[in-house]
Symmetry: C2
């Protein structure tokens, strides 16, 4: 068949990505500079949707190029305020109505735990202790925000997720020692608790390590 040269046709119109969309979402409340958007975003959704300076400026330029935002004249310092356009509002609404993609979790601590067999016994507990304080702090932070009140229902709903997540992590950290507690034959500082019971199963040879 005669190689059908790419028909121009209707331009595919690249959809918004979630990062750009969230910027539009914030801009709906009024103009803001890139710097401000970074702050706003980190404060409100930063715990489950990271975005960095570089990202924000890059997306703002792209959005401006597509006419979804317009840059105003430079302000006080190098401040460059962006305003959402009608096309931007429409694009945001379309984006919001799409089914969101699955979540992504990247948890280095779990990598360490998975490979923990090659690690000195107490080391994992040290790492976990370090992370624990951060999780406790975040949980306390979420709780105080909720208790302070004055939040929009939807923000409160996302905080509810954060609270459940942090509690789950803390509960896991609590049970971790009992999960990792070596069965018979491996000595560590703490005596093997008989509560470990079943244990035994180390069927996986994993020859050389």
């Amino acid at each position: 068949m005669p190689d059908p040269a790419p028909v121009p046709g209707p331009v595919p119109e690249p959809e918004l990505n979630a990062t750009a969309a969230s910027l539009l979402g914030f801009l709906q409340a009024g103009e803001a500079s890139g710097y401000e958007l970074v702050g706003i975003a980190q404060q409100s959704i930063g715990d489950f949707w990271s975005l960095t300076r570089s990202q924000v400026y890059r997306e703002l330029s792209a959005l401006a190029g597509r006419g979804l935002v317009t840059a105003g004249p430079a302000g006080r310092r190098a401040r460059r305020p962006y305003t959402i356009t009608d096309a931007g509002r429409a694009a945001f609404t379309r984006w919001l109505d799409r089914a969101p993609e699955p979540e992504q979790i990247r948890y280095p601590l779990l990598l360490t735990v998975s490979f923990g067999a090659a690690l000195r016994p107490g080391r994992i507990r040290e790492f976990v202790a370090g992370h624990r304080v951060a999780h406790e702090r975040r949980l306390a932070d979420y709780l105080s925000k909720v208790e302070a009140g004055g939040l929009d229902r939807h923000l409160r709903a996302t905080l509810a997720f954060g609270i459940r997540y942090e509690r789950a992590v803390l509960a896991w950290m609590d049970e971790l020692p009992s999960l990792l507690d070596p069965g018979p034959g491996s000595d560590s500082g703490s005596a093997a608790s008989p509560a470990d019971a079943g244990a035994g199963l180390e069927g996986r040879g994993q020859g050389q390590v």
Copy 2:
């Protein structure tokens, strides 16, 4: 003052990144090709540490360039087996003993929920229902793996995290309708949008785990 030229000193020796490290971790069990490593990784740690084909091949080349792995002669098809070197083992051990960085979560659904005020009321529930089945499936998967037994303690501990996480997500999804439903006394300072008044929690026959 005489610009203190950057002291050469000992070469910084770029440390391993977590992805490269995990490849070394798997290679400790024996040689493997990039293709196999993708499979191994996705199966064992894929739910909390993603890595893609491109990533794996890129890292393997880089590791080979640093002498941490060596590529064997091509095998069956284009298969190129990699073997970890002593330097690689040492680098892996050093990496494993470092404090792991905090986790990263990117959850588009939560973005949608945050901005949900601009969305038709039932839409969020539709999205959540779609995600719910995936979470239920993953939870069931984790549970069956644990019950099947034969897992190394450390793998079981990471699965325990997955189980707690999925249960937390499901519990949040269960409570979500009541959070988003404008109930009594939920309106604080800002004006409660009248748009989404209706839509109480109709029969969500949820329940399980």
